[in-house]
Symmetry: C2
Subunit: 584 residues, 2 copies
């Protein structure tokens, strides 16, 4: 056991060089500077006072630098997870209630524990069940919900909380006359600044520029006296060590949210971590260790008043572009935030909430992926439907329900499709030894005495009935002249016991009707199963062939009375790894 596998910092810290620092220092500072406005904005999105966003940008970054495997991943508060905190905790307490902050911190502990356990038990594979369209539909819907939740900060009047988007939009429109013009102008100005700077140079922290511009505007024009909302007092000092408080009811109530955040947070993080690894290739990202790293980051953070965090897209990209080489960049970012907490928070007294809203707005605009939807509409109608349904379910049923619905629906689609697989009847391509689908190749020649079918799926309980039915139909079309059926098994990836029962019935039926039943291209694992359960014996080893043409030739030879077995070829086609064959 290599300790360095579990504490990846030991892989790079002992060999840390000046060269590395030359990359890490500017990267760490840039990300740190981004983190100040983003952290405060995402805390606001989560329903927390802005300072908690700064807390969440300290301890978790340090812990991840020790236990995480990615060297460019920038961990911290992100929009999606913050939204999930807002909805998850919002079900238990009002954002203004005293308990809200405690719940958010408890949630970080729970998320951390879940991720840690998933990592220890190597359950990282679970994210594979989130398909591309489901993630895309979910993310776009969540981005819309996030964006709309910030509308009140941009328009300057209160819109009642709601998870129904038409209610939010309706409210915003009917009360549009109440709009607070300075707030709206400042917010729109912030959006223009951030997007403009991003177009121009991605390493300049546009959101910080907007923050500074916003503070100056408030101070210069005394906008706070004119009704503009500002963040006001931010406590000075490092987050205090404090144990998350809880009782069993809280844990139960927060569990669905914790599970969703643990999963979604990990999906976002591992996706960007893998993308970085593919660019650098000088280290390996291990998904179980990533779960452990994120889990410990959340657990550690929860003892220092952090709400749930994960690795985010945008800051990681900036971190990488600014030249980060190791986790030291994250350590530098965290130090910058700590310095800010110790000395700079008074500077943000006049920061307008509208500017924080514009930071969030710009971040989530990028998450709405219309291009993918258009692509799927043209390329894969089924996956388009999946995306659309997940999108709509997330908007109408809620964030957690939407993703659960998407996962279940996509799995149901997979099962449904495998229950009605593609089945091809093959014919010989003139002048060749090749056999092809007669529906696709008009010149593929069918023989009236031989039915050749290729079944394009594993044969298992959900499709055995369909298989039998199709076989009977094709057989009936052939009529009385049918002498042999050849089952092409190149695409039959597995057999279960239900399929073995059905195949046995079919073989026995053909035996009584004097129709030969041959199989070709049966692959190793399936041969093993056939051997183990006696089906190979039932079909007869002499009826196993490698290719369709050989099977057809053998049939013709048999009909001509030349009944020699092609021993060598057959040996290949019936090879199995089973030593004790023939159980019935």
């Amino acid at each position: 056991m290599d300790i360095r596998k579990f504490i990846p910092i030991l892989q790079w810290l002992p060999a840390y060089s000046k060269e590395d620092l030359k990359g890490d220092l500017p990267a760490g500072l840039t990300v740190g500077v981004m983190l100040i406005p983003q952290g405060m904005a995402y805390a606001m999105l989560a329903g927390l006072p802005p300072v908690y966003g700064l807390y969440a940008a300290t301890i978790p970054l340090l812990v991840y630098a020790i236990f995480g495997t990615s060297r460019q991943l920038a961990v911290g508060p992100v929009a999606m997870v913050s939204l999930l905190v807002a909805t998850g905790v919002g079900a238990l307490a009002d954002p203004d209630a005293a308990g809200f902050v405690q719940y958010a911190i408890l949630l970080a502990l729970m998320v951390g524990l879940i991720q840690l356990l998933m990592g220890v038990f190597r359950l990282g594979f679970l994210v594979n069940f989130l398909s591309h369209p489901v993630i895309s539909g979910f993310t776009s819907a969540a981005a819309l919900v996030i964006g709309l939740s910030q509308l009140k900060h941009l328009l300057g009047f209160d819109i009642p909380r709601s998870h129904l988007i038409h209610e939010i939009i309706g409210n915003a429109i009917t009360r549009f006359s109440e709009v607070h013009l300075p707030t709206l102008l400042l917010g729109l100005g912030g959006i223009v600044i951030i997007m403009g700077i991003r177009k121009f140079n991605k390493t300049i922290p546009g959101s910080l520029v907007a923050v500074i511009a916003g503070i100056l505007a408030v101070v210069l024009f005394s906008l706070d006296d004119k009704g503009l909302k500002i963040v006001q007092d931010i406590p000075v000092g490092f987050p205090a060590l404090s144990l998350p408080l809880f009782n069993i009811n809280d844990l139960q109530a927060l569990l669905p949210a914790a599970l969703t955040i643990a999963l979604i947070g990990f999906v976002e993080s591992i996706a960007v971590a893998k993308a970085m690894q593919a660019r650098h290739k000088d280290y390996e990202v291990d998904s179980s260790q990533e779960l452990i790293g994120l889990g410990l980051a959340n657990i550690g953070g929860s003892f220092f008043q952090s709400f749930p965090v994960t690795g985010g897209f945008s800051r990681t990209a900036v971190n990488d572009q600014a030249g980060s080489r190791t986790g030291m960049a994250s350590v530098i970012s965290a130090c910058l935030i700590i310095l800010t907490l110790l000395f700079l928070t008074p500077l943000f007294y006049y920061l307008p909430k509208a500017i924080l809203a514009s930071v969030i707005m710009v971040a989530v605009f990028g998450l709405i992926n219309v291009k993918e939807a258009v692509y799927l509409w043209k390329a894969d109608r089924r996956d388009f439907i999946m995306l659309l349904v997940t999108f709509l379910a997330t908007l109408t049923l809620g964030i957690e329900q939407g993703i659960a619905f998407g996962i279940l629906l996509s799995l149901a689609f997979v099962i449904y499709k495998s229950a009605y697989p593609h089945i091809a009847q093959l014919g010989r391509m003139p002048g060749t030894r090749e056999y092809r689908n007669i529906v696709r190749f008009q010149d593929a020649a069918e023989r009236e005495d031989i039915l050749i079918i290729r079944f394009d799926a594993q044969l298992y309980f959900a499709n055995t009935a369909y298989f039998k039915e199709k076989l009977q139909k094709m057989e009936a079309e052939k009529g009385n002249k049918l002498k042999a059926v050849i089952l092409v098994g190149t695409a039959i990836n597995s057999l279960d016991s239900s399929a073995v029962h059905v195949l046995r019935d079919i073989v026995e039926d053909y035996n009584t009707r004097n129709i030969s039943f041959l199989v070709t291209g049966i692959k190793g694992p399936v041969r093993d199963i056939m051997c183990r359960c006696g089906l190979m014996e039932c079909i007869g080893a002499q009826n196993f062939y490698m290719g369709v043409h050989e099977a057809v030739e053998a049939l013709d030879k048999m009909n001509n009375g030349e009944n020699e077995a092609e021993a060598a070829r057959q040996k290949m086609a019936t090879q199995t790894n089973i030593t004790k064959p023939g159980i019935r």
Copy 2:
């Protein structure tokens, strides 16, 4: 539209002949005679007075004869459905309460409506998701539960109702001293008679013999005075027409039971109906019409005080062996029961309940399928586990929960397996053009400059990560000498949009690294997808081959500077049904 498809009686009644009657008359009478004791026994199992078993053997049989497609299926009360009625209604009312009978009849109406709707919307395919091991495990467990529920009638003392088998057994053992000897002897005698006669001749209704013997024993030895329980008064007359009464709460409470009975009843019925069709082949069993037939039978029955019915194994087998040719046999059975109800019920006054219990016991003994479990243990360990888990879940969680658990588990297994499919690296068999798995065939020759892999599953979101990981690992083992990767697609039955994304990444990665990427044996539907989403263009049409050997030859030719495309062959390997290719 052919009306005869929806009213199948019109297919055989107009051509009904004396010949047919010669088969149907003895079959109908034999089944009718069996139905008298079985009906009463199953009513007792369902928790109803015995006469309701006779009611359930009248109208439903007549309705099924009109609308059902099977000509040998014997519809009526069966053990499994009766047990489900007992547990389903038992949750709402005590067996002795006045409402119990009303609930059971309402359940028949609900089951009928569900089956009718399933038939109309052609949802019969849903039963395909019940795998062999799940049905087997569930049936064995249910049989155990049924058998144990009758223990009290055999032992002659009351055992409190429980769905936990160890409680029932424990109760029976601790109180065994209270056993009522005449009851036990009579019950065991009944079992011996029924099983003995069945061994001797299957068309003699052993249960009726046991019933007669039991009545005679009671009358001759005045056993009823000695504490033996008898059925006593059975009302005389045809079941009265009466509307099932219900309110919305009852419907809600009964819905889970109704869904389970509708599904399980249909599974049992369609299995035996298909087996009969396979024997006779002179008519067709249509699963949707079967649902409609059974649904109408239950609905019709519910208006004449019938509890839920379905087609049963044992009576159908007897019906067939006794020579039934059409649904007329069922009509004859129903008429015999009606005559019994009108004139013969007083004869059953002294019928001992222990005899009815022995009828049930013998019926369910046959349902416990140890052979299948032993077979699966040896042949398919995974399916054995499925059987065992369903069996245990049914015993411990309850009847309906057990089957639901089994279905979900078997689907989860399918998904899980498809997420980690078999992947083979191929090598050339010496002296042939064949390529085989190098792990299975020791003499298959690997080349150090070409990696040939065969992926044995559809490529979709749940396994793309695994595919990529495995590919990278195999690639790494090859080292720097790797010049080309050949993906063998004979077993890739489908691609979804997630897989397209991954393949595109892989191809682009190989392009930058100057490694050729070739595909062989890609099948029609997958070629269509590749073409539609631009992946074919991305891989390059010149890199599509039909067989591995051709791909390898082409690579060697390319390396030798001979770069002519084999136009004709390529045309075959890239054929698609798409007219507008190339969306990106």
